[in-house]
Amino acid sequence: MDLRSRIPTGPLEGKWERHRFEMKLVNPANKRKYTILVVGSGLAGASAAATLSELGYNVKCYCFQDSPRRAHSIAAQGGINAAKNYQNDGDSIYRLFYDTVKGGDFRAREANVYRLAQISVTIIDQCVAQGVPFAREYGGLLSNRSFGGAQVSRTFYARGQTGQQLLLGAYQALEKEIATGGVTMYPRTEMLDLIVVDGRARGIVIRNELTGQIESHLGDAVVLGTGGYGNVFYLSTNAKGSNTTAIWRSYKRGAAFGNPCYTQIHPTCIPVSGDYQSKLTLMSESLRNDGRVWVPKKKDDKRAPHEIPEAERDYYLERKYPSFGNLAPRDISSRSAKEVCDEGRGVGETALGVYLDFADAIKRLGDATIHERYGNLFEMYQRITDEDPYKVPMRIYPAVHYTMGGLWVDYNLMSTVPGLHVIGEANFSDHGANRLGASALMQGLADGYFVLPYTIGDYIASSKLPPVTVDHPAVRATEVDVTERTKRLLAIKGKRTAASFHRELGRIMWDNCGMARNEAGLKRALSEIPALREEFWENVNVPGGSGELNQSLEHAGRVADFLELGELMCLDALHRTESCGGHFREESQTPDGEALRDDENFTYVAAWEYAGVDRDPILNKERLIFENVKLSQRSYK
């Protein structure tokens, strides 16, 4: 398998500049002759589709939601990082680069991360030009806040709705291009397979969710901006519809899957309240700017929070990480919460929770300031829990939030299938083993607005792309696969719902491939998941037919893919016997319980290659070379 990263040579600072010069261009008049299929309409997909259309390409864009504006980027709350140094606090492109590489526990590519940091500043300019209402100071300048894993204030935000405002900016740009005819939009459409012709990605098979019609759409390149796969855990902060199908089917058509086990468990979510729970709700990390995290010092302390005197509280993040305190990175904060709960010091009915307390901040700043900063988050918390965070500390617990793993891509964001490009959370590229807060929005928009539009031109200009029609045997065969699979799901007529399988898979993944992993647990999961998958294909009950809106069928298809992906995640987690970032192997920790990397043996990207049904996937390795940053034990103390 060709895992050449295609990182340009030369000094870090000049790589992207030089690469842009060296890439081939497509003549402006020729661009409209090329069709690019963009799957997904979140920050990455919408920004890419709009920009490609502005450049003159013929673009088709697909989303499973009823409108592109509903992609799950919309739910990102806290903010977007950029190395503007508007606060004069010592930020720089190099510092954002360094923080991101370190935050990712030295498991990301230097060149990709540096490019991301360079582009970050342009993103803010672009979004302001579009009318994104970022928070401002009284003088009219942009306001910033701090986020975990950084000691500078570089996060731009629009209340607790930054993702919404950025996505609406990209969505509006997309609608502008739809109006010009440059983009044809296909909402309520799900990609069910990738069409590979003569070794190149040339199309996708889609299902129209309203009519059930299965069709092949062809083009010159395919772009996946289909998001992460956190819903493999059933409970996560992802939207209910978020799924792995597009990237999983592409994996099975030859795209390598990079670091599937790298999962981010976000420290500040509302704890689970019952078995019926359908999803978990994030409370933005920005709350940790002013909230203090604590648990009682005593085990099984059932007193109400206000009855516990100051001296009997353990502000464990401030105690363990005095220099970063409550703003320690996500992986470390989550693991610390798990530790105190495992010790029996958790709070709330289930004892799987810690306090996030605003009493000091309210005393210092007043209700009004806190309301202005976090009003909508406080309201959301109160609606869900029926508790008032102005009066009672919030209860929070970690939840699956983001997947750093994804399809392997080179510096040009192209997968191991030529022509298949992968952007945003769907790829593996920039966050290493742990993503810092406010960096997902940055990456999605960097990929979509400013990287892919250049690199895809180079691919098109330097490739021979003979016309392909729907009667090509490879197209026909892929379409038949999809149709057969749909028929098979409907024909099983078993006893269990797809949701019940999904919940059971989620439990296996959370228990064995969650915040802490060990060999015995992963091996257990690797025997349980195939058994569950087998039962699924014998006993799932998918009501309704194929030629209509059938949400049960959509869900069942996604669960079937999660049942395969979960196994690969466990396999990856088992092989990586070191701890790094969000991947914590209990066997590999420092004396004080921090993640212990094994740089000698694991400074690589694990790129898994599909080898066929019932055959073990093949592990390929892309060695990570650090020329600028010195690998060190991460310390936030």
């Binding site: 672009q126 030009a129 579009q130 401002r136 609608e175 869900i384």
Partner: protein, 258 residues
């Protein structure tokens, strides 16, 4: 919050609009929703009902939903005649069963508007909203070439008011609640968001003209200022935005060159 009492369980009767296809006749069908926890969200309650329907071999109730945290705008149903149900400023996914009483009968229907045809059960077609945005709900700023973000000074008050309007989630509750099925609040929210910012000025009047014209073409009703929309809006967007839209539209019509 737990107050030490044993867990409280509710038994409810649902009356749900079932319609198998866009052109099929629909009807209200009654279902028992038993053993419901007050801590469930309204959609989680529907999930439970759907699981039981599936287990019994019946077709589950179709409803749109995605983020389940009140921001994507996918969900939205009429609950006892109110868009998104009884809680102010709350989308259906954020409504919890503690807002109801044990033994209640709850009627659940799709948005009712000519411009939002029913697709199936509780799902409707809201693509008219996308077409209104495509008519002009943007700033024409192609990617690249933007100047430094801090070169545009925007008074905090302007950006705060713009943000109030920009928080619209496009759910359609305003249309569903309006006796005229007008899309004025939705359209006005975008016109207000962009019209309050310096970046939105060059296209301000053209935008108002084009978006309002599109809205009228989409078979939404006219606005007669009932104000039901702002009461139903999960983001509590004010009808002041409609006054702003009308002013911009009027100026656009008066000064239009063609």
């Amino acid at each position: 919050m737990s107050d030490g009492n044993p867990p409280f369980i509710m038994n409810l009767t649902l009356r749900v609009w079932r319609q198998p296809a866009p052109d099929a006749r629909g009807s209200i069908v009654a279902y028992e929703a038993s053993d419901i926890s007050p801590d469930m969200s309204f959609l989680e309650m529907l999930d439970v009902v759907n699981e039981r329907l599936t287990e019994r071999g019946e077709i589950p109730i179709a409803f749109d939903h995605d983020c389940r945290e009140g921001i994507c705008g996918s969900c939205g149903v009429m609950i006892n005649g109110a868009a998104h149900g009884p809680m102010r400023g709350t989308a259906t996914c954020q409504l919890h069963m503690r807002s109801f009483n044990d033994g209640d009968t709850i009627t659940v229907e799709p948005w009712r508007a000519k411009a939002f045809p029913v697709i199936k059960d509780l799902c409707v077609d809201r693509s008219a909203f996308d077409r209104i945005i495509a008519a002009g709900g943007y700033v024409s700023a192609n990617t690249g070439g933007a100047r430094d973000a801090n070169e545009i000074l925007i008074p905090k008050e302007s950006v705060d008011t713009a943000m109030d309007a920009a928080s619209c989630i496009g759910c359609g509750a305003c249309v569903a609640a309006c006796p005229n099925a007008s899309a004025s609040l939705f359209t006005a929210a975008k016109i207000t968001h962009l019209g309050l910012l310096p970046q939105g000025q060059p296209e301000r009047y053209r935008r108002a003209l084009r978006m309002v014209t599109r809205m009228d073409l989409e078979s939404f009703g006219g606005c007669t200022l009932y104000g039901e929309c702002q009461d139903a809006c999960p983001k509590e967007i004010s009808i002041d935005t409609i006054a702003r839209m009308n002013r911009d539209y009027l100026k656009a019509v008066m000064t239009a060159k063609d």
